[in-house]
Amino acid sequence: MAEKVERLRFAEWGGGVSPFAVGSKKLGMWLFIVSDSLTFSGLLVGYSYVRIANERWPMPFEFWPTIVMATVMTFCLLSSSLTMALAVRASSLGDRARVVRFIALTMLGGILFVLLHAKEWAGLIAEGVRLWENPWGVPLFGASFFTLTGLHMLHVISGVIYLGVIALGVSRGRFTHEDVEISGLYWHFVDLVWMFIFPLVYLLSVKMP
């Protein structure tokens, strides 16, 4: 027994292979995700802080159209996570054509999300919501809404471009399975961030009867 413990403790590390069996690129993406999620956490905590610090935070969102449209946007994004997972699976099977097709579908989901989101922004701006004022009271409502959703939208747009590069590379036979998987990690992360923004920013601001 003691001998076995001793052997385990001084087991030779072979080098080159990660203790978590994760490639360097993938580990790098995981670390980036950890870091980026802390930036979003900082913003979400800041939003929660000013929301609690202000009495009568505006709750202007009607069930129709805002919440319904936001739900459709959520649906687009979540479906795109599914197609992304299918792309990764196809890539693990080595089916390049299917990888490209599923990534294209994923990008379509992302683009739809951005278009709907842009339409929503345009509507709010038309109603007079600005970074420094809005028709419903506490000016920070608009500031935090545009900051949080804006930074997230920036991530979705960069994600769509990133996926485009990956799909183009895969169709030309360039990238490996790991590259596809890593782009998938990023995409799922962007979706996950939305799953915090949707309840905290939208559902908590529904107009009460």
Partner: protein, 612 residues
């Protein structure tokens, strides 16, 4: 340098099985690692971790020179408030018109000195400089995991530095809101004072760039430590320097993104009219501001959630270097290796839970203050573990008093001195009267500034022979140490007294405060000590550059040390180990092993023959 060019061609062909096993990522990492031919790719836009490490070190040297000059301007103003310095004013023709330092310009100096030192010296030199240069070698890797990101990380840092320097030259000059950029002063714009217009914007931009560069660096450090270790280099055989850089990188990975979030919000407050950090009804310069609804405390929370771990980002590499150097020159294994590793991690973890102790005077609930206070004081436990392990390493050792050893011993001394005042400030009831006095200035300069600088000096004197293949001058080094060591105490011990006497910090002058008049001689004493100590640093700069060209040639392993960097030529060839990847058989601190022929065993030394 001539000798180092030979292994390049060998390595380009040398196929390394370790790299093939790791998959595509690692193959790519070495594919860009062929010896570059052109000067620009080799020394300017280089992806070699050693060149990048040196770039970071030289950036830090430029930054520290500027930082020291700024601090001397402040010291002169404090010691002789009515004096004029037309000659010194030439450096800042607008801000120092007529050779006098206005209270506003004094605050600009405070801000820029703090920002330059914390970000571009204390974070840049030990982690970006030594970490980049020696972490891959000490784990037995040919380069960092992501050489291109590594190169970008340096250039983004440099861009951040240049943007910060630009703040001196824009209209209004450098910001006056301190390195902490407290809102609402930092958030409301030019109306609140000079430098709060464009200067403050540039400050935020510079820090945002630094956040991005840190992320790129941290990705590299963590991935390299976990994935690129050579055969036999188990985590339990990593030198404590590597453990320190690794933990520091984890802290940087988790702390800087929160500062980035704060920076984004602060910039929006300034340029887009939001009010995240500005409360309603604020009157500045007889004008009611249109902002409303924000909270200055939110900035403090976001800033210090980053700011406290940042203290450990500065000091942990110094702890690693100190442990390494103490063991080497005590010719004894480090006492309690595992306890040291655990203590580094404990300090890192606790560092994320104590940011509130910077905010005891912000009006926070006494209950939260107690929680923050208890957590803060508990950092004393891992700190004491480290200190006692250092002392135990020295116990009954035949110490070689080399220059790096002197600086490592100095680190322990200053770490203890600065740490003791931390116990005072960690308690709410004592912090409240002390918080805005020189006591805090003395505390954080000793523990975060000077201790970390001593770690940097220890590292410089220790690794110089490896980096440049020549020794630094010993006599000059010892003179530099003693002048600096005594000078530092002469500067900062009297500051504790100023603080206890109630002298407020951040004030350019004390005229009109009768109770401060008797303290003026202490200011004069501190300024003279600061001038002498700053002058002593010229010895270091001279020794450094003189030794690069004229120093005594160094052997491969002049300190008879054990870790992997001492198994390769000085300076190391482009790909560190050439085609021959080292195989590690032992821990990092096998000094004075009974029965061994020499008093040290390299990590690559083959295992002792099994008992018959």
């Amino acid at each position: 340098m001539g000798a180092s060019s030979a292994p390049f061609s060998v390595s380009a062909q040398g196929k390394n099985p370790r790299i093939l096993k790791g998959g595509k990522a690692m193959t790519q990492a070495t594919a860009v690692h062929e010896a570059p031919k052109s000067f620009i790719r080799r020394y300017i836009f280089s992806t070699d971790h050693k060149v990048i490490g040196l770039q970071y070190l030289f950036l830090a040297m430029a930054a520290v020179a500027i930082g020291i000059v700024l601090s001397l301007y402040m010291r002169l103003r404090l010691a002789w408030p009515t004096e004029r310095w037309p000659l010194l004013g030439k450096l800042f023709p607008n801000a120092m018109a007529g050779g006098t330092i206005s209270p506003e310009f004094y605050l600009s100096l405070v801000t820029m000195h703090g920002t330059i030192m914390v970000f571009f010296v204390l974070t840049t030199a030990p982690l970006g400089g030594f970490g980049n240069y020696f972490l891959p070698i000490q784990v037995g890797a040919h380069d960092m995991a992501f050489p291109v990101l590594n190169m970008l990380s340096f250039w983004v840092t440099l861009a951040g530095f240049l943007v910060l320097m630009a703040a001196f030259f824009v209209s209004g000059g450098a910001p006056i809101s301190g390195w902490t950029a407290y809102a609402p002063l930092s958030a409301v714009g030019e109306i609140a004072g000079p430098g709060l217009g464009m200067g403050q914007n540039l400050w935020i931009l510079s820090i945002a760039l630094f956040c991005i560069a840190s992320l790129l660096g941290a990705l590299n450090f963590i991935t390299t430590t976990l994935n690129l270790r050579t055969k036999g280099m188990a985590m339990t055989r990593l030198p404590l320097t590597v453990w320190a850089w690794f933990t520091t990188a984890v802290l940087a990975l988790l702390a800087f993104p929160v500062l980035l979030a704060g920076g984004i919000l602060l910039l929006l407050d300034r340029v887009a009219g939001t009010s995240f950090f500005v409360p309603g009804g604020l009157i500045v310069s007889d004008k009611i501001l249109p902002h409303k609804g924000g909270s200055p405390l939110l900035w403090q929370h976001l800033f210090w959630f980053f700011g406290h771990p940042e203290v450990y980002i500065a000091i942990l590499p110094g702890m690693g270097i100190t442990s390494h150097v103490l063991s080497t020159f005590a010719r004894k294994p480090i006492f309690g290796y595992r306890a040291m590793v655990t203590a580094i991690f404990a300090i890192g973890l606790l560092g994320f839970l104590v940011w509130g102790h910077h905010m005891f005077v912000s009006g926070m609930s006494p209950y939260s203050a107690i929680a923050f206070s208890l957590l803060t004081l508990s950092i004393g436990v891992p700190s004491a573990i480290k200190t006692f392990n250092w002392l135990a390493t020295l116990y009954k050792a035949r110490i070689h008093f080399t220059v790096p050893m002197l600086f490592a011993l100095g680190f322990v001394s200053i770490f203890v001195t600065g740490g003791l005042s931390g116990i005072v400030l960690g308690q709410t009831s004592l912090d409240i009267p002390m918080h805005d006095t020189y006591f805090v200035v003395a505390h954080f300069h000793l523990i975060m500034g000077v201790a970390a600088i001593f770690g940097i000096f220890a590292g410089t004197y220790y690794w110089f022979p490896k980096i440049f293949g020549r020794m630094m001058n010993d006599a000059l080094g010892k003179l530099h140490f003693w002048l600096t060591f005594i000078g530092i105490y002469a500067i900062f011990i009297p500051m504790h007294i100023l603080g206890i006497a109630g002298h407020p910090r951040r004030y350019a002058e004390t005229a009109g405060f009768d109770f401060l008049t008797p303290l003026q001689p202490i200011h004069v004493f501190i300024t003279i000590a600061a001038l002498i100590t700053a002058g002593a640093q010229l010895l270091f700069f001279f020794n450094f550059f003189w030794s690069i060209w004229k120093g005594k040639k160094a052997e491969m392993n002049p300190w008879r040390a054990t870790t992997l960097e001492w198994t390769i030529p000085s300076p190391p060839p482009h790909d560190n180990f050439g085609p021959q990847t080292p195989v590690v058989h032992r821990g990092p601190y096998e000094y004075s092993v009974p029965g061994a022929a020499e008093d040290y065993l390299l990590q690559t030394a083959p295992p002792a023959p099994t008992k018959s």
